[in-house]
Symmetry: C2
Subunit: 176 residues, 2 copies
DNA sequence: GAAATAAAGGAACGATCGTTCTTGACTGAT
DNA sequence: ATCAGTCAAGAACGATCGTTCCTTTATTTC
């Protein structure tokens, strides 16, 4: 408990909005392809406030990544709990916005172990959600997650997912 | 036809070796994460020769990408022609070294349309090879390629591929 | 050997990188 | 009204980026 003697000038930016915008920017191009100038220009926050609030560019990136996991992956996990078969699970994953997670997995994980940890545990939680919902072994769930990520990677998720699940779905339908 | 009056000092580096090494470097981290200093240090070529021979960093990247397609993807296509079922095709793709292609697809294609063209046609050729070998519709082949890429993305390709093909293989066996 | 050509070797370029410093504007409590 | 504390605004930092220039060395043809 410390006594507040003065409050100071109030912020002119919304921290939540800034982090959400950072998720969009970092989800659109590689980490090194997003400069601090880009962040300052597109996020409505000024250099000083960015460093005061988030510590560094990497600090903002990590916060944005965790926000992405909380806002976009966590709801996916909840939805997956009600999945009835592999087709349904694949549809849920391939229709989610996982661009930042995908980019983080492929280009930051190899060089940033803190990112690697977040990515690994996020993907593992997707695996577990699928395994629990469908009652399939974990390695099958991992394979399903992998297939969904590959579909996201190629773009046109809807068309491709349809083809895959048309063949894969019946095999893992719950209770057969 | 021009008359050669003098030959000049011979190269002290092997152009093929340099390009192969560049494939390794660019396949290991993001484009912006590989500096020209890195290239000069690890490739055994000096700045001047790099620019004289390849034009620019991006020029070397494009040449390395095409070399990757010729050395690593083309043999995969040939091998896929003999694939008997989806399991075999998936095994072939997931055991290939496609790191540069994967990285190019996810982090360069969005910002470099020449890269995007190479990546798209390479992935399309994999689709066609699978479709031709297995006699499946092209969208199913696209889905299989996507699944294989997702498996590569997650690491541990062998274990995961086994699980996926155990369920997927029988469905698309040739002639059933 | 002399002239011509091409590569090696390295210094140096302007631009941009992430980060920090300085100054002034604004706020709440005394 | 004053003071303390926070933020905005933007200049400025050293480091590194991709690229170019210059000099030296090596080789072939005359």
């Amino acid at each position: 408990m410390r006594t507040v003697l003065a409050m100071g000038r109030p912020r002119a930016f919304d921290e939540d909005e800034v982090v959400r915008a950072a998720v969009g920017l970092f989800g659109g191009r590689a980490y090194d392809g997003v400069s601090v100038d880009d962040l300052v220009t597109h996020l409505g926050v000024h250099r000083n406030s960015l460093y005061k609030t988030f510590g560094s560019k990497r600090g903002l990136y990590l916060i944005a990544l965790r926000r992405h996991l909380a806002d976009d992956v966590r709801p996916l996990l909840d939805a997956l709990a009600d999945a009835k078969d592999a087709e349904g699970a694949l549809r849920l994953v391939t229709s989610a916005d996982l661009r930042l997670l995908l980019l983080a997995a492929i280009e930051r994980s190899p060089v940033d172990e803190e990112v690697a940890f977040e990515v690994t545990s996020a993907l593992d939680s997707v695996d577990r959600a699928i395994a629990d919902a469908l009652g399939v072994p974990t390695d099958v769930a991992t394979a399903l997650t992998a297939a969904a990520l590959g579909i996201l990677l190629r773009g046109n998720p809807d068309k491709v997912a349809t083809a895959l699940t048309r063949h894969l779905g019946p095999l893992t339908r719950k209770g057969t």
